[in-house]
C-alpha cells in the first residue's frame, strides 16, 4: 500500500521535471550512463587537474616548506597510467580476472611505437601501431591463459609477461637495445611537428604546466572514458559484471563464457597498448624494466585496487596517488628522517594498506559512500522516492 503511494508520488515528480529527482541515487546513475555527461564531467576535471597538482600544490608547498607540488610532466604521466587502469579494471573489477602480465601489452606497445617512430615519427600513428601490436599479442596470450582460472590464470599471464621481458633484455636486444634501453625516439609534435610536445598549450605564462603533451594525453583520456563508458553500459558491461560474480551461472544462461572473458582480456590490452604508446611518446625512453618487468604489471594491480574497482574511473585516482607518491613524495625531504627517495615504496605500501583496510572499495568507493551519506542527510527520502518511481514507470 505504501509502495503504491510512493510510486504515484514519484511518477508525478518525474513528470514535473528533472530537478526534483536530481538528488536521487538512481537519477545519478542514469546521469552517469549518459556519455555526454561523463565526457563533460571528465573534461572539466582534466582542465583543472594540472593547475591543482602543479600550481596550487606548488604554492602550498612553498608556504609549508616542503616540495609537494607536482612537476610539469606529472599530470600527463598520471593520465597515461589512468588510461591503462581504466581498461585493466574492466578485467579485474568487472570480470574478476586478475592478470599479472599486463606489462606485456604496455611494453610491447611502447617498444613497437618506439620502433615505428624510427620510420614515421607521427605520434598518432605510433599510438595506432602500438595499440595494434598489443591487441594482436593479447589474442594468443588470452586464448591460452583464460582456459585456466584464479591463481593459474594469474601465473600464466605472469609467465607470458616475464618471457617477453627476458626476450627484450637478451635475445631480442637487436630490436630493443636490451639493457641499455631504447632511447632515440623521434616523435614529432602534433600536426606534422607544428606543435612540439613540450610547447605550452596556452600563451598564459602561469599555466605552463598545460603542455601539448598534456593536451594529447587528456584527449586520449577522454576517448578512453567515452569508450569505457560505452562498454560498461553495453551488454558487455552486464556480462563482465556477471562473470565476476558467478561464472557458472553465466554459462547456464546460454552465454559463451570463454569468448566473453577473452574479449575482456583483449579490451583491457587495448587500453594498456594505448597507454604504452603514449608512455613512450611522453618519456622518449623505454627500458625492459619499465616496460615489461612483472613489477610494472603489479603496479597496474596496485593502482586499480587503490583507486577502487567499483566504477569506471575509480582506478584513475589510484594511478594518481601511485604516481604522486612515486614522483613527488619521493623527492620530499623531511626534517628528522631526511630525503624519502627510494623509500617511496614504503610510503606507497603504508598508503595502500591504510586505504584497503579503511576503505575496502578504494578511494573511489570511499568517495561514493561520502556522497551517498551527504545526499541521504540532505535529501532524506528523495532517493527512495525516485527509486520507487522507476519501478512504477516500468510497470
Amino acid at each position: 500500500m505504501t509502495d503504491r503511494e510512493v510510486a504515484t508520488d514519484g511518477g508525478a515528480v518525474a513528470e514535473s521535471g528533472e530537478p526534483a529527482s536530481a538528488s536521487g541515487g538512481s537519477a545519478l546513475s542514469r546521469l552517469r550512463e549518459r556519455d555526454d555527461f561523463v565526457v563533460v564531467a571528465s573534461a572539466a576535471a582534466l582542465i583543472v587537474f594540472p593547475f591543482l597538482l602543479v600550481d596550487v600544490l606548488g604554492i602550498v608547498g612553498d608556504v609549508i616548506g616542503l616540495s609537494i607540488g607536482g612537476y610539469t610532466g606529472l599530470p600527463s604521466l598520471v593520465l597515461i597510467y589512468g588510461i591503462i587502469v581504466i581498461g585493466f579494471n574492466l578485467l579485474l573489477g568487472y570480470t574478476g580476472l586478475l592478470s599479472f602480465g599486463h606489462a606485456a601489452f604496455f611494453g610491447s606497445a611502447a617498444y613497437s611505437a618506439a620502433l615505428f617512430s624510427q620510420v614515421v615519427p607521427s605520434p598518432l600513428l605510433m599510438v595506432v601501431v602500438g595499440t595494434l601490436v598489443a591487441t594482436l599479442l593479447a589474442w594468443p596470450i588470452g586464448f591460452v591463459s583464460i582456459r585456466r582460472s584464479g591463481v593459474y590464470f594469474a601465473v600464466l599471464t605472469l609467465t607470458f609477461g616475464q618471457a617477453l621481458y627476458f626476450y627484450a633484455l637478451g635475445p631480442g636486444s637487436w630490436l630493443t637495445n636490451g639493457d641499455n634501453g631504447f632511447s632515440n625516439i623521434e616523435a614529432d609534435g602534433l600536426f606534422l611537428g607544428a606543435l612540439p610536445f613540450d610547447a605550452p598549450l596556452t600563451p598564459l605564462p602561469f599555466l605552463d604546466s598545460y603542455t601539448v603533451m598534456y593536451g594529447f594525453a587528456a584527449v586520449s583520456m577522454l576517448v578512453a572514458v567515452w569508450v569505457g563508458n560505452r562498454i560498461i553500459n553495453s551488454p558487455y558491461g552486464l556480462i563482465f559484471e556477471a562473470l565476476g560474480e558467478n561464472e557458472e551461472r553465466v554459462e547456464f544462461v546460454g552465454l559463451n563464457v570463454f569468448r566473453y572473458k577473452l574479449m575482456a582480456f583483449v579490451i583491457s590490452a587495448v587500453f594498456a597498448g594505448v597507454g604504452g604508446a603514449l608512455f613512450v611518446i611522453h618519456e622518449q625512453y623505454i627500458h625492459p624494466t619499465t616496460g615489461l618487468y612483472w613489477i610494472q604489471s603489479g603496479d597496474f594491480v596496485i593502482m586499480t585496487v587503490l583507486g577502487g574497482t567499483g566504477g569506471l574511473v575509480g582506478p584513475v585516482f589510484g594511478a594518481f596517488v601511485f604516481e604522486y607518491v612515486a614522483n613527488v613524495v619521493s623527492g620530499v625531504s623531511l626534517p628528522a628522517i631526511g630525503s624519502i627517495g627510494s623509500l617511496w615504496r614504503f610510503v606507497l605500501g603504508a598508503v595502500f594498506v591504510t586505504i584497503v583496510w579503511v576503505f575496502p572499495r578504494g578511494i573511489y568507493g570511499a568517495g561514493e559512500d561520502l556522497v551517498a551519506m551527504l545526499t541521504d542527510r540532505s535529501g532524506g527520502e528523495g532517493g527512495g522516492d525516485t527509486a520507487a518511481a522507476d519501478g512504477g514507470e516500468r510497470e
Binding site: 538512481s26 553495453s234 558487455y236 552486464l238 559484471e241 560474480e245 554459462e251 544462461v253 569468448r259
Partner: protein, 252 residues
Amino acid sequence: MTLLRTDGLTKQFGGLVAVDDVSFQVDRGETRAVIGPNGAGKSTLINCITGALEPTAGSVEFDENDITNLSPHETVQTGISKSFQTASIFPGMTVRENVEIAALAAEHGSFEFNFLKRLSGFSAVHETADQMMSAVGLLGDDDTEAGSLPYGDKRRLEIAIALASEPELLLMDEPTAGMSPDETADTVDLVERLQEELGLTILIVEHDMEIIFRIADRILVLNRGQVIADGTPEEVQESERVQEAYLGGVEL
C-alpha cells in the same frame, strides 16, 4: 510429441557407474519427475543432459537434434534451461540485472560483438525481464540487490533467471530444497502456474514425495544409476522395486 529423449545414457566416474544405461523420454507439455534415493544418479543425469558432464556412452536428443556433446551454453541456446538446487544468482547485481542477463542471452545468442551498443536499447530484453519477474512475483523488487533477498525469494529469482532464457524445457533441480513449508507450497503453486501460463515442459528432480505425486505427470525412478520404474504416479507407487529401494520392502 517427444521433446527430450535419452538413449542408453551412461556416465562412469572411474569404477563407479553413476548413470547406467538410462533411456527415457519427456513429452512436450508434461511435468516429468526424476526421483530416487541419495546417490541414485539424479543430478548426474541432469548434468549429462545440460552438458555440464560429458556422458561416457549413449546420446541425448532434444527436439530431434542430437545434443549429446554440446557445452552448457549451447544446450541452453537450443532451449533447455536449468534452475539450480542452490540459488545460483548474481548476488551483487539487482534483481532486474539478474533476469536481464538471461533474457539478453536468449535474445542475441551466446556471443555478439556489440560492446559499443547500449544495453538500454534492447527493449525486448527489458520486456522479457519484466514478464519473468512478474511471473515469479519479484517485479516490485527489481531494484533490490539480489544478495539481500530472503532465501525463498532468491530461489524464485533463480527460477526467473532460468525462465528468462525462454526455454522449451525447464530442468528444476530440487526447487524446494531448504525451504520452509510455506515457501514450498508457494513454489509448487508457482511451478504449476508457470506450466500452464508459459506452456513449459518441466523435468523436475525432487525429494519431497508429496510434491512429486501432486505435480508430476510421469515419474522416472532411479536407483544406483539404473531405471527401476518409469510411469504414472500410480504405477510408480505400486511398483515393488520402488518400495524396496525406498522402504526396504516394507508395505505401504
